[in-house]
Symmetry: C2
Subunit: 230 residues, 2 copies
DNA sequence: ACAAAAGTGTTAGGCCTACACCCATGA
DNA sequence: TCATGGGTGTAGGCCTAACACTTTTGT
């Protein structure tokens, strides 16, 4: 018999943090999944996640899991909902605090567990373990809403990017199409973009202008209270 | 020694649901607090809340607590964040899933615990137990953001209300002032309000027009995808 | 009589949308 | 040479913001 040394007067649930990891390859949104090596749901795909230690917060737990899976230390990780259906885990009562992380594909080396970790385009995501299908749907919705308030998109792009990449990202997240000129104008008028390296002399007309996100100007605007609108 | 019959291999946190209960008296936002009768933080004010039972979800727990405090059964309750700082409860490791509820003051009879429950205007809220100050700040922010997407305000008003009351509510939640005429026009153009009882014949010019929320029209608009803007 | 609340309309400016052509390059 | 992607400007409509006076009633 295993030693069950932690005893309580009332039953306690386990608490896990799961992490929906979003990336962007320049065209479409990707999600990092890992294939479960153990029961339950052995062989099925799921989000990285694990049990919260007694001396860490759920956010710390999510970051720890993220680092183990992707090697990333400073990604943007945010909790968005806590799932607590009574039977969501067949083993025991587990509630999970779901997070999403925005990472740059280019910076992901693949973690310890890389063998079983894989990026999926949204359209190719298989049916997932536990209630992770539902978690994914909510994460996706949160992303949509959040991008209307904060320029989270820049976390998904390389530091230097083209306007088309940015537009593709917004279109992918919001599932709409924008007129190219209008998108350019709106973005430039917002004033949170800076042109990166003044385009090389020999730059052909075909070479797109590169931008980077201007966090300072964004902070300034935010202070004055404003909203991104799309 | 108390009987500690629930034993686990690893330490488990306790899980609670707390409920920030918002009301509106026609002028300002109110919050329902209860005075703690036991340690820790005995005598201090806090949100209603309690331990999640092993056979209920956190939302069910929040609704149960809400009903115990206010007698309300069908209020709008929504979770918004999970607080898991390691030392947020001095007794043991407790993580709490914080919810907010929107209730009509007129419908609150006062619950079992009414003796120690009290409505506070925002400006009069004392310093709170645990990390409830922080929870309140986040709840307040959520309210601000949510009202830009959904007409949650109507949950706080009586079924039939005047345009001024509605404007006061929006101004209280968003902490801004609107021009009265512009607010009227915008609201009426949105089309989610219906005039309640055609104003009595003898209605004086001083008697304000009464409206009610038109949920059907709202659902219709929402389907087509639109946003409330303020 | 005076203060407080409700009803009502116009104008100017800004923002959003829709839309088309040219150039350079790589295949 | 053709297809692709990037760069660029304008006109019309809609929404927003700013703004004042009248009426009624309660005090």
């Amino acid at each position: 018999m295993s030693e069950n040394r932690y005893c309580y007067k009332y039953p306690h649930p386990s608490v896990t943090a799961d992490c929906v990891i979003f990336g962007f390859d320049g065209v479409s949104i990707k999600v990092l999944l890992i294939q479960r090596g153990i029961e339950p749901f052995k062989g099925m795909w799921a989000f990285p996640g694990g049990f919260m230690q007694i001396d860490e917060t759920v956010e710390e737990c999510a970051r720890r899991e993220l680092e183990e899976e992707t090697g990333l230390k400073n990604a943007s990780v945010e909790q968005f909902y806590t799932f607590s259906d009574v039977n969501r885990d067949p083993r025991e009562r587990v509630i999970t605090v779901a997070h999403y992380a925005l990472v740059r594909l280019s910076e992901v080396k693949g973690g310890d567990d890389a063998a079983s970790a894989q990026w999926f385009a949204e359209s190719e995501i298989p049916s997932l373990a536990f209630d992770h299908d539902r978690i994914l749907r909510m994460a996706r919705n949160c992303l949509k809403e959040r991008i209307c308030f904060e320029p989270i998109g820049f976390e998904l792009l390389p530091e230097v990017f083209t306007m088309s990449e940015l537009q593709n990202l917004y279109e992918a997240i919001l599932e709409v199409k924008f007129d190219r000129r209008n998108f350019y104008n709106k973005m430039l008028k917002l004033g949170i973009l800076t042109e990166a390296e003044p385009r090389a002399e020999q730059a052909s007309r075909r070479t797109p202008t590169k931008y980077r996100f201007n966090a300072a100007k964004y902070a300034e605007l935010k202070q004055k209270g404003f909203r991104l609108e799309f």
